[in-house]
Amino acid sequence: MAGITISGVVRQFGATPVLQGVSLTVEPGEFMALVGPSGCGKTTLMRIIAGIETADAGEIVIGNRTVTRLRPAERDIAMVFQSYALYPHLTVRENIAVPLAMRRLSTPERMPLLGRLLPGTRAKRAAIGEEVVRAAAPLGLAALLDRRPGQLSGGQRQRVALARAIIRRPAAFLMDEPLSNLDAALRVQTRREIVDIHRAAGVATLYVTHDQAEALTMADKVAVMMGGELLQVASPEAIYADPADLRVAGFIGSPRINTLAAEADAAGRVTVAGLPAGLRTEARGTLTLALRPEALRPAPAGLPAVLEHLEFLGDGLLLHARHAPDGAPLIARLEPEAREGLQPGAALRLGFAPGRALLFGADGRRVATRADAALVAA
């Protein structure tokens, strides 16, 4: 079993730093999602791990081997590309067989005509052919083996790319936004399949995506990257409920987390627009109070707000409001039944349990809080 460890990876394009000393460990058998907005450096990091691009500084270890200076083929990894990168001139069968053929057959054995005449080639080719069928069957490719990539749908091509990656049993998988070219319904189904493949193979996997829902649903651990830095690496639950940085809180979760300007007085009492928020903290000065939409609900006491409109989702209800003192938008996720008695344009108060409030300092880092005696006063 092998994991991936990268330490202090730096990469610059000209004067623009793309990766600023990134260190990350994927444990053996772990599914790690690397998530971040477009242009945050996540794909560059993955390409550096694969050996397609070189780092200006830093080290990459796969298993127990330092691979920083090795060629991609010697790193014992398989990669699924966003564009799938299938060989257009080969059939599905040949595409999946390439990694095995390149490793098991010698150069003369791979020659088009000469290879057939060499002793042993036939047996090796037959063994590879069997493995191809075995790898393709669970992915539903058995009937498509003799087609070419141009004749396949996006989802089928994606599966061929997966089969080509798993057939070699590499030490690690790298996946670069493999679902981004699929339609929404297929994406949800394929998520499940990729997780199953990972379980069955039990290989350390680094999965790059810009879709936070994908990261949360699929991964054992999520690494959030922004501006060439890793902001937080934690389980999906911890990333969502316990973000270490305001940018992580803002990026993860849909609808977006609510943020309000807050202030801590000399005693550490937190106030929002002059009203006590029912929280105490060690920090002082300007803060940001962040609340997940499901942490807010209409209550007798809480943040004063004006209801703007309601969005019915079927299984829930989104309440869009504006914070009365400063006009900041607020979104609350409610049960559908909560619609009763809510009128757009009406004033209401949105309360929250102190334990669900997230407080961030002026630098964006998380600040510890504890409940204060009184909740927001009327």
Binding site: F81, Y87, H89, P149
Partner: protein, 269 residues
Amino acid sequence: MRARIAVLALLGALVLMPYLWMVAASVKPVSEIFRASLSIWPEQFAAAENYGKVLTRVPVLHYIWNGIVVCGGILLFQLLFAVPAGYALAKLRFPGRGIAFGAVMLGLLVPPHVPALPLYVAASGLGLLDSYTALIAPFTISAFAIFLFRQFFSALPDDLLHAARLDGMGEWSIVWRVVLPNAWPAATAFAIFSVVSHWNDLFWPLIVVQGHEHATPALGVLYFRSEEAGDDFGAMMAAAVLMTLPLVLAFLLAQRRFVEGIATTGLKG
């Protein structure tokens, strides 16, 4: 639609006219060729006479064989050198790449007649005159081919090459197993261009070849005219038909491949 077909047919007939005239003349007796009135269809067939004269008096098949050897050799070496060079210029980063590509562009500007004299002197000095080597070697490195392949390979997605490297292919395997099979349209187009121009080339064979031994088809027609036919235009046209026939056949076959290549490589997928 119908009007377009009519226009295309008219233009096609115009282009085909000289060729049809050659074929028609090759089956006419001399008296009919020099008649003042125009007619495509001969009144008297002299095909056996004309073609018989060509086949018995000059080694036509030998000329054609020479043409195949020379054109095949030139094409083989051109691909052998130009495909890896085009790949390197398109996809590999190395110091001096810009200068190398600039040199290729400069090479495109040099007309083939300019280096003819130094090449002749070199071939003569090496004792290679009147040999296949002298006919093939000067054309083995084609700046046009390098340029054409470089442009075509630039359009190949980088991820395809990355995937090949991850799958364990070296650069050499990538060139022949991934890049070239996906460049069939370019390779076929270039092959047609190369074979046609060297099959019909008279200039260079005329310089380095003496006698029938290594004469190419174009040179063969010339010999036939000066030595055998005189003003026997029927026989001369028959010789011309025989010399162009392999080219026409090859072209028809390649054309099918060419269309197939574009339709099935699936590069757009």
